[in-house]
């Protein structure tokens, strides 16, 4: 019996006494794909192209294989798809040895260039409202990696989900978005907030960039990419903002920003996360996404992923959370994640995290 009523996927609350065959999710989740034209060209792409020009990267190298034309970039109605943006990022990193570009872009990115959104971000009166606005407009503000917000104990946790198969560029994007959020929060709060930053990659050689651009408490080799802050800072009131929209901001109606909030991979992750109690499998997931298993697999492949990878990621995140935060026993976790016994969980956990259950607990 489903314990979690999948409200995340806009499902109507189901009567719990219904049989299990009743579809869990009558409305398929909405999402954008790798090749959906949803990225506003004058925002991320224009920001990147500006930056690349200050680094003297020639235009033909910058735009190679992206299908982007320079004259389109500043057209207000022009859109590109996530795939093109990823290619643009790859071109930039390939053509420069500088390791601070992700951080520089991050500082410039928010509040963004669409009037309604930036006004909402800038008029937020505390961190909680700011994060609300970010999550609401994340498809526009952060189309390539999506934000997942949750509360764990006394802490607000923001962590990053791959939306469309970022692969090698994932670290670049995490650096950029982490900088963007901490930079905007610092500006609005007019103080250095005591964030804790967690990164799943090893400490890079350019660790000084993290120190200077993010400051403070940075941890590498962690189980997830996240930024964490104590809840008390979420509701500290901020002074009223005197910022007015600059003229190159676009006055856009809410319609133009009305796109699905999450990318395909993030939508699948969310679905699995919400439905873990039903021991989801590929067939059921595909059906709930409103397509055949073959189509579903093909779509995952298009996004450089596969079902097992996302399912493992979900189970890993849940296991780490239950063990670390909730202090559950291994038996409880094994049962929740539908493992036959603790030995199987132990093996899988070692594979996902490189840690033993005991080490994860300490």
């Amino acid at each position: 019996m489903p314990r979690n009523s999948a409200t995340r996927n806009n499902c109507a609350q189901l009567d719990m006494s219904e049989s299990v065959e009743f579809p869990l999710c009558p409305v398929p989740p909405v999402y954008y794909e790798r090749d959906s034209a949803i990225v506003h060209s004058h925002f991320w792409p224009a920001e990147f192209i500006d930056l690349a020009q200050t680094r003297a990267i020639p235009e033909h190298k910058l735009l190679r294989h992206t299908g982007i034309f320079c004259e389109d970039i500043h057209r207000p109605d022009h859109r590109i798809c996530p795939e093109q943006l990823l290619q643009l990022i790859q071109n930039i990193t390939k053509n420069t040895s500088a390791d601070d570009l992700s951080f520089l872009v991050g500082h410039q990115l928010l509040p963004g260039k669409i009037a309604v959104i930036s006004d909402q971000l800038m008029s937020s009166t505390n961190l909680d409202e700011l994060i609300d606005a970010l999550v609401e407009h994340q498809a526009f503000l952060s189309p390539l990696i999506n934000i997942r917000r949750c509360y764990e104990g006394d802490e607000l946790v923001l962590y990053w989900q791959d939306a469309c198969g970022a692969e090698d560029s994932f670290i670049f994007l995490v650096e950029a978005l982490t900088t963007a959020i901490s930079s905007l929060a610092r500006w609005r709060s007019n103080s250095r907030l005591p964030w804790q930053f967690y990164f799943s990659h090893k400490a890079p050689v350019y660790i000084e960039q993290y120190e200077v651009h993010l400051g403070g408490n940075i941890h590498f080799d962690c189980q997830r990419n996240a930024m964490v802050i104590h809840r008390e800072y979420c509701y500290q009131p901020w002074t009223k903002n005197t910022h007015t929209s600059v003229e190159n901001f676009l006055a856009a109606s809410r319609n133009t920003v009305n796109i699905p909030t999450k990318g395909f991979l993030a939508a699948v992750y969310d679905y699995l996360h919400s439905n873990i109690a039903t021991d989801p499998n590929l067939e059921q997931t595909a059906a709930d996404f409103g397509m055949s298993s073959a189509t579903f697999k093909r779509k995952l492949k298009k996004h450089h992923s596969h079902f097992q990878a996302i399912y493992d990621q979900v189970r890993k995140d849940l296991a780490v959370y239950w063990i670390n935060q909730e202090g559950w026993s291994s038996e409880q976790v094994a049962k929740k994640l539908h493992f036959h016994d603790v030995a199987n969980l132990r093996r899988a956990f070692k594979k996902w995290t490189g840690l033993t259950l005991l080490a994860a607990r300490s």
Binding site: T54, L104, W187, Y206, V212
Partner: protein, 309 residues
């Protein structure tokens, strides 16, 4: 850069063509069976390499005397090699001496010109090294060079710190100064990355003017500069830090978009290598201590501003 030298290249192509046409006109072509592959590859390789060196040099250097010598020398070497290569394919009649002259005459002339060029290059390099002195210490590594300020980055700083710490002893203390521009993020937000870069560039020049001949300035990351002061005690380091702080305060930066100058202040953190403590300093521990001092200075500044407000 190559566009600067297009006449040189055009002339060289013309000369090579003349040699080819002249050889074809005066001699007979050898049959394939008479070709000596070792000579073809060897002599052709020399000509080709000379051409590559020439292109690399022309591509990287502005016009001037040194470039003139180097390119003339390499051109002559190329022509000699090219002619040498041609006679692997062409019989020259006994009486024709000119091909011999080109082969054997151009080579020594070319090498002499090249030597002259390298000698002047050496003198020029000494001058440039003197100019770069405050940006690098005894060791050159172009790969870590920062695009915006032409200073070396944090990696170079760590290598130099390692080097200095290994040499240092109690009599020769070492000071590391971290300099952070206050409210730099706002400049970037307000005027854009380009103005931010301009400011960083100007400030790096300003800092270079305010340090001693043997000091080393690096761009640590973002808006943070690192200054390595060898053989410097507490008193001297504090004086230099105060001077820098003064200089930055009085520097009137003019953004392109507006008439008014904008003024800045910096926060400074200093750490000293201490020979007497039990555990020796590493570059990272020294940087960490300087960072702590810097954050402390920033906090003090913030609280002072709050009190003032």
């Amino acid at each position: 850069m190559l566009a600067l030298h297009k006449w040189k290249l055009l002339f060289l192509a013309l000369a090579a063509n003349l040699a080819l046409v002249g050889s074809l006109a005066s001699g007979d072509i050898k049959t394939t069976s008479e070709w000596n592959w070792l000579d073809i590859v060897g002599e052709g390789g020399l000509a080709l390499l000379a051409l590559i060196w020439l292109l690399l040099i022309l591509h990287s250097r502005p016009a001037g005397r040194v470039t003139q010598f180097l390119s003339l020398g390499l051109s002559a070497v190329f022509i000699a090699g090219f002619q040498d290569w041609l006679d692997e394919f062409i019989y020259f009649p006994e009486g024709a001496l000119w091909d011999h002259w080109i082969e054997s005459g151009f080579m020594p002339i070319g090498l002499i010109l090249l030597t002259l060029g390298i000698y002047h290059w050496h003198k020029e390099q000494l001058l440039i090294t003197e100019q770069l002195r405050k940006r690098e210490r005894l060791f050159r590594e172009h790969r870590g060079l920062d695009f915006t300020t032409s200073l070396s980055g944090a990696h170079y700083l760590r290598v130099q710190l390692q080097h200095e710490l290994a040499q240092g002893n109690q009599e020769n203390p070492l000071a590391l100064v971290l300099i952070d521009i206050d409210n730099f993020a706002q400049i970037n937000r307000r005027y854009g990355n380009r103005e931010g870069d301009n400011l960083l560039h100007s400030l790096s020049e300003l800092l270079l003017l305010n340090i001693r001949r043997n000091d080393l300035l690096c761009r640590y990351a973002g808006d943070r500069f690192a200054l390595l002061l060898p053989n410097t005690g507490k008193l001297m380091a504090n004086t230099i830090a105060a001077e820098i702080s003064q200089a930055v305060r009085h520097f009137a930066f003019k953004p392109q978009q507006q008439q008014d100058s904008i003024f800045h202040s910096v926060s400074i953190g200093i750490a000293f290598s201490c020979g007497q403590t039990a555990e020796a300093d590493t570059p990272d521990s020294l940087i960490a201590r300087a960072t702590q001092a810097l954050l402390h200075a920033k906090e003090q500044r913030d609280s002072q501003q709050l009190r003032a407000a």
